[in-house]
């Protein structure tokens, strides 16, 4: 019996018992698809967290400083940091949030605020369950920043121009929008050059930042940044006490923390104010450790899922082949050699597992995308490594447990195989 004959025989056997073939494939399909989906979703959420961390910026030093006389220390801080040079410090900016009503045309941040409250009662904002409606506009977060705000917060200017030192000095009534804020207020129109009303005052949009995080509903792109000197009109009572300093590297971060501590210690003491300096790197390090741990747990879950899927495949193959011992007896009685039997079952198992495996990959991919979209609001593509290993393991198990009992049955005396029911 040659190979093409064996293939034909395997095909006949597969199509001759569609129910059994489907069940066998189902085991493999479920095995592969479930592993792919579980791993994809965990991986996706892990990566999303890391991405957000990344976007928020690394090597940031947070400075909190206040003087009892109410005089901001920012000018001193700005000058000191810039004197340290770009090999240590990339930027320094206030990082104060404030609230104000921003209006452009029919869009009003105060109304969004109100709707957001209603939305929350109605089942949460940005919930995928209310897909019938337009996603609710979230009110933007407003920041006062220096000309180095973008550098400190990992923003790149996308359209127009960024805030300059001149804007700061002139108390310019200008602002830069984050990508999502631009989308909310201007939809697809170009915001640059348009005038928005902020607490009733006209502010010109001079630029839009490039999008940092396209996937997430919760977005750090929904921001509007104003030169910090504009606080004179917008929020005169706010005393700016929080600042961010962007260091050039993680080594530089440590150095900058100690330099700033020394510097601020020189100008602020217990009598005239307080200050604190700390870097994000420690919390980021623990986030990284957490991510590593998640990966380990993930590996464990994947291994267990593969094991469970593998046992399922093994059972189905064992049952089907045992069920076919009589057939093996018949074939042997009319002259099939052992080799022919094993070849036939090998090809049969390989075809079933191969086809089942491919369907499993398709189901797993679509499943990952759907579940990822539902749970993480983002498209999660399954990892090729996991996909390949799930496929290979399932197919290998399917073939192994397809041949092994067949090989065993073919070793029986034909009469014993014939006796099987």
């Amino acid at each position: 019996m040659n190979i093409s004959q064996a293939v034909k025989m395997a095909v006949k056997s597969i199509t001759g018992n569609k129910g059994r073939s489907m069940l066998t494939m189902l085991g493999i399909i479920i095995g592969i698809a479930s592993v792919m989906i579980i791993v994809s979703v965990i991986n996706g959420s892990n990566q999303q967290t890391l991405k957000q961390m990344e976007a928020m910026g690394t090597n940031k030093v947070n400075v909190s400083a206040s003087r009892y006389d109410g005089k901001s220390i920012f000018d001193d801080l700005y000058n000191y940091c810039n004197s340290l040079g770009s090999d240590l410090v990339l930027g320094v900016t206030p990082s104060s949030q404030f609230s104000a009503t921003v209006v452009y045309g029919a869009k009003n941040s105060a109304v969004m605020e109100k709707n957001q409250g209603n939305g929350a009662m109605g089942g949460g904002t940005g919930d995928s369950s209310d897909t019938g409606q337009q996603t609710q506009d979230m009110p933007p977060t407003l920041y006062f920043g220096s000309d180095q705000y973008a550098a400190c917060n990992n923003f790149q200017i996308g359209k127009g121009r960024d805030i300059t030192q001149m804007d700061v000095k002139r108390y310019a009534q200008v602002c830069v929008l984050g990508a999502r804020a631009a989308k909310i207020f201007f939809n697809y129109a170009d915001p640059v050059g348009q005038t928005m009303q902020v607490n009733g005052l006209p502010f010109t949009v001079i630029g839009v930042y490039a999008e940092k995080d396209a996937d997430s509903q919760w977005s750090m792109d929904n921001v509007i940044v104003f030169p910090y000197t504009a606080s004179r009109y917008l929020s005169p009572s706010t005393q700016m006490t929080d600042f961010s300093v962007k260091a050039s590297s993680s080594q530089a971060t440590t150095q900058v923390v100690s330099l700033l501590t020394g510097y601020l210690g020189g100008i602020i003491n217990d009598q005239n104010g307080y200050f604190s300096v700390y870097s994000d790197n420690e919390s980021q390090q623990s986030m990284n450790e957490w991510a590593t741990q998640m990966s380990l747990i993930l590996g464990g879950i994947a291994a267990i899922s593969l094991l469970v899927g593998g046992i399922g495949i093994m059972n189905i193959m064992l049952v089907t082949v045992t069920e076919r011992t009589r057939e093996i007896g018949i074939r042997r009685a009319i002259g099939a050699e052992r080799r022919s039997i094993v070849t036939q079952f090998l090809i049969e198992a390989a075809m079933l597992c191969g086809i089942g495996g491919l369907i499993g990959i398709m189901v797993g991919t679509v499943g990952s995308l759907i579940v990822g979209k539902a749970l993480l609001h983002t498209l999660v593509w399954p990892s090729p490594l996991i996909t390949a290993s799930a496929f290979l393991l399932s197919v290998a198990l399917g073939i192994l447990f397809g041949i092994y009992p067949a090989a065993k049955a073919s070793k029986l005396q034909p009469v014993e195989a014939l006796r099987a029911e």
Binding site: K12, G16, R331, A333, I334, G335, A336, E337, Q413, L418
Partner: protein, 231 residues
């Protein structure tokens, strides 16, 4: 001598308390062209005898020479070839493969002989014609009556033109009329020169054979020629 059993034993669980001697020292010679009925009650060892003669099983002790070759010395592969080319089996339960249609079942032994598709189909159709099943070749076994299924099994057995036909209770699952047809067909094959070995518990059926070998408790108790009841 085509078939020669010399002091053959088939013993299950040998040496244990539960030891069963299915064949207990059987010696038998069958010549080419004979029609032999092996008769015995259930448990007499007649099926074991057929399995032995058909190379479906191996003796525990004793010698079996088939066409001058000692079967004990053959490899599994050589035994497969003997079953494939020398022997045609007809079983009580037909033993057709349910997932294959009629003509595919009949082609099966030809496939294992490595015969090409065209020639195979030709031989299979000729065999089906002999048993009167032309026109049913695409049916699945489950769609056919017991008598028809047994005719498919016979077609499969004769498709390779084997010199020996072995039939184990071939009429056991059939009504007397269709059973009669099967027996007449075996007589026909014998007249054409095939050696036929028929296993049965029924003396009436054994009457269709020229020679009757009677087994009791794994031993031959009677071996004689008789007047044939031609059907």
């Amino acid at each position: 001598m085509l078939i020669k059993l010399t002091n053959v034993y088939k013993i299950y669980s040998e040496g244990l308390e539960s030891e069963v001697r299915a064949l207990n020292g059987v010696s038998l010679e069958i010549d080419r062209g004979e029609f032999v009925a092996v008769v015995g009650q259930s448990g007499s060892g007649k099926s074991t005898m057929m399995n032995m003669l058909g190379c479906l099983d191996v003796p525990t002790h004793g010698e079996y020479d088939l066409d001058g070759v000692n079967v004990k010395e053959l490899t599994d592969r050589q035994l497969s070839h003997i079953r494939n080319k020398q022997i045609g089996f007809i079983f009580q339960q037909y033993n057709l493969i349910q997932t294959l249609n009629v003509v595919e079942n009949v082609e099966l032994p030809l496939i294992y002989q490595g015969i090409g598709a065209e020639k195979r189909r030709e031989l299979a159709m000729a065999a089906l014609e002999r048993v009167g099943l032309i026109g049913r070749e695409k049916h699945k076994p489950v769609e056919m009556s017991g008598g028809q299924q047994q005719r498919v099994a016979i077609a499969r057995a004769i498709a390779t033109h084997p010199p020996i036909i072995m039939a184990d209770e071939p009429t056991g699952a059939l009504d007397s009329h269709t059973g009669h047809d099967v027996l007449r067909f075996l007589q026909e094959l014998n007249k054409e020169g095939s050696t036929v070995i028929l296993i049965t518990h029924d003396n009436g059926i054994a009457a269709t054979a020229r020679r009757v070998v009677r087994l009791t408790d794994g031993k031959i108790v009677e071996d004689q020629q008789q007047e044939v009841d031609w059907l």
